[in-house]
């Protein structure tokens, strides 16, 4: 079963010191490597900060381009991972062990026939 893990930054994760960030980044590297080896992680990327985003909105035929992420909120998408695991419980275990913390949305990927 394929799921998308959407990694979301919140106030807590954004308020970390450089030293804390460096320490967690090492853990992420190890985590990613370990779960890629098992075949659980298929792909994924870290994104640059929300301030680097540009949003294109389609609204009844009109297209607008706006500086910034699509949601004006305290939480921002920071990265994603595509995983292939047995069931939701396995996906939730991965999400729970995500070293960065913050918020992780777990969404099943639509299987095309």
């Amino acid at each position: 079963m394929k799921y998308l893990l959407l990694f979301v930054d919140n106030e807590e994760t954004r308020s970390r010191s450089e030293a804390e960030v460096a320490a967690v980044s090492e853990k992420i590297g190890a985590w990613w490597g370990e779960h890629s080896q098992t075949g659980e992680i298929l792909s994924g990327e870290q994104l640059q900060g929300a301030e680097t985003a540009t949003t294109v909105r389609h609204d009844h035929g009109t297209v607008t381009i706006v500086d910034g992420p699509f949601i004006e909120a305290k939480e921002h998408v920071a990265g994603y991972g595509v995983i292939d695991v047995k069931d939701l419980d396995a996906a939730l275990e991965l999400a729970k062990s995500w070293p960065w913390g913050g918020v992780v949305e777990v969404r099943p990927i639509l299987e095309m026939e």
């Binding site: 079963m1 069931d87 939701l88 419980d89 939730l92 099943p108």
Partner: protein, 446 residues
């Protein structure tokens, strides 16, 4: 109380079925009655009521079919179809000799029919048939943990609280949509939608049908206990119009809780909840009068209480206490134990009860618990003190009928009868259970 299900019978075509035995029930007047296993055809012949035994079977059947098909949604639909067919056909055709086997076969066939209708389904059927263990006429026998597996699935944290209780009442306890709607003062449409959405979530997100691993069990426990308690309460004081209580639903909750205590023997809260349920059930014969009105605890004929049930509850409580991790259900059971140990209401150890409520509030501080505590405070510090304190709960509980009913009681105790009647009238406006309404009405008119 209820007898366990009867012996397993292996039928010639390979179907293994447990035929439920009759339940022995001791009635309040000392008679022993055997409730027939299976369907109860109503005296008027026209209505068919599927009693506890079937709902119990339905739960196990949904579980076994889920494992067999690998699809909870399909299994649940199939069992519902089979039950509906039973209700439609049995009044005219008569109840089959082996009703449980009939249900099992019919549900399995309905599921296979559905699968055959879609290409994806046919693929799945082919996979099932290719399994060397598969016998075309057989179904895997429900395993001892089957209903627990189903319970944990329905109580998965990925489902909302509403979805959890609705799905459990439906799939595990076998309540109809109408009964669930009545229990939550909702509409059949709302309940139906909720069930559909929940099953869709189970399917789409692939919530597994399995018992959580040892490390997860303790974490998943609180939700499961809360759902079982809700189920028990709905049976304890039915919002349903035709019966004041549904003992079979209480027993269903009790049975499932007992299964939990066997699965997790070192967890104290399931033991506490089971103790609570057993002691409540033990008082069943005395809880309602001949007209179906509630008899208050203080007025109940304690000679009618099932002594064995009370003793069992107290033993369970002691076992829980030996694990040295107090919790909300254990304390509630302890409060009930203090009540039941008293030979009469006047000699109840009220200070002990107040102390236990104080302890309970440290685990779970809610306005309703505070309200119940005040009833005990009235007996230790007097009704005036309790009346003064009850006002602090008004904001939180103004819409709760028992707030007003309790106030009425306290006002009566201090001789303020007109105000008491006004409070009772407010309680009557807000009360939904017919048995409670009858009690309040008789106070107002008596």
């Amino acid at each position: 109380m209820a007898e366990p299900a009867g012996p397993t019978v292996i039928e010639p075509d390979g179907l293994a079925v447990a035929e439920p035995a009759g339940r022995t029930v001791a009635e309040a007047d000392g008679r022993t009655v055997i409730e027939p296993a299976g369907l109860t055809v109503m005296a008027d012949g026209a209505r068919l009521r599927i009693d506890a035994t079937f709902r119990h079977e339905a739960g196990r059947l949904v579980g076994a079919l889920t494992r067999y098909l690998g699809d909870f949604d399909l299994a649940e639909e199939a069992v519902q179809d089979a039950l509906a067919e039973a209700v439609a056909r049995w009044p005219a055709e008569g109840v089959p000799e082996r009703p449980a086997a009939w249900l099992q076969t019919t549900a399995r066939n309905r599921a296979i029919d559905r699968l055959r209708r879609e290409a994806k389904g046919r693929e799945k059927l082919a996979l099932i048939a290719a399994d060397p263990a598969f016998h075309p006429d057989a179904m895997p026998q429900a395993e001892p943990d089957e209903r627990l597996r189903l319970l944990f699935l329905c109580c998965h944290p990925a489902l909302s609280q509403d979805a959890q209780i609705t799905l459990t009442l439906r799939a595990v306890a076998g309540l109809t949509t109408a009964e669930i709607a009545s229990a939550f003062l909702s509409t059949e449409d709302t309940v139906s939608q909720r069930i559909t959405r929940a099953k869709r979530k189970v399917s789409a997100a692939h919530i597994p049908y399995s018992l959580p691993g040892d490390t997860q069990l303790a974490r998943r426990l609180p939700v499961v206990l809360a759902v079982l308690y809700l189920m028990f309460n709905e049976g304890y004081l039915s919002s349903h119009a035709d019966v004041p209580e549904r003992r079979w639903l209480q027993q269903e909750a009790e049975e499932l809780t007992e299964l939990l205590t066997r699965l997790m023997p070192r967890e104290p809260e399931p033991l506490g909840l089971l103790a609570l349920m057993r002691m409540h059930l033990a008082r069943s014969p005395a809880r309602f009068d001949a007209e179906g009105r509630i008899v208050r605890l203080r007025d109940q004929d304690r000679g009618r209480w099932n002594a064995a049930g009370i003793a069992s509850g107290i033993r369970l409580l002691r076992r829980a206490a030996s694990l040295r991790r107090p919790g909300s259900y254990q304390i509630q059971a302890a409060i009930l134990a203090v009540h039941t140990e008293a030979p009469g209401s006047e000699v109840t150890d009220w200070p002990q009860i107040v102390a236990l409520y104080d302890l309970l509030l440290r685990h779970e501080d809610t306005p309703v618990i505070r309200l119940n505590r005040l009833i005990a405070v009235a007996s230790t510090a007097g009704p005036d003190t309790a009346l003064a304190e009850i006002e602090t709960l008004r904001d939180a509980l103004a819409g709760y009928h028992l707030f007003h009913a309790t106030r009425a009681e306290l006002l009566r105790a201090t001789g303020r009868h007109d105000e008491a009647a006004a409070a009772d009238r407010r309680a009557l406006e807000l009360a939904s259970s017919p048995a409670e309404r009858a009690l309040i009405t008789s106070r107002l008119t008596g």
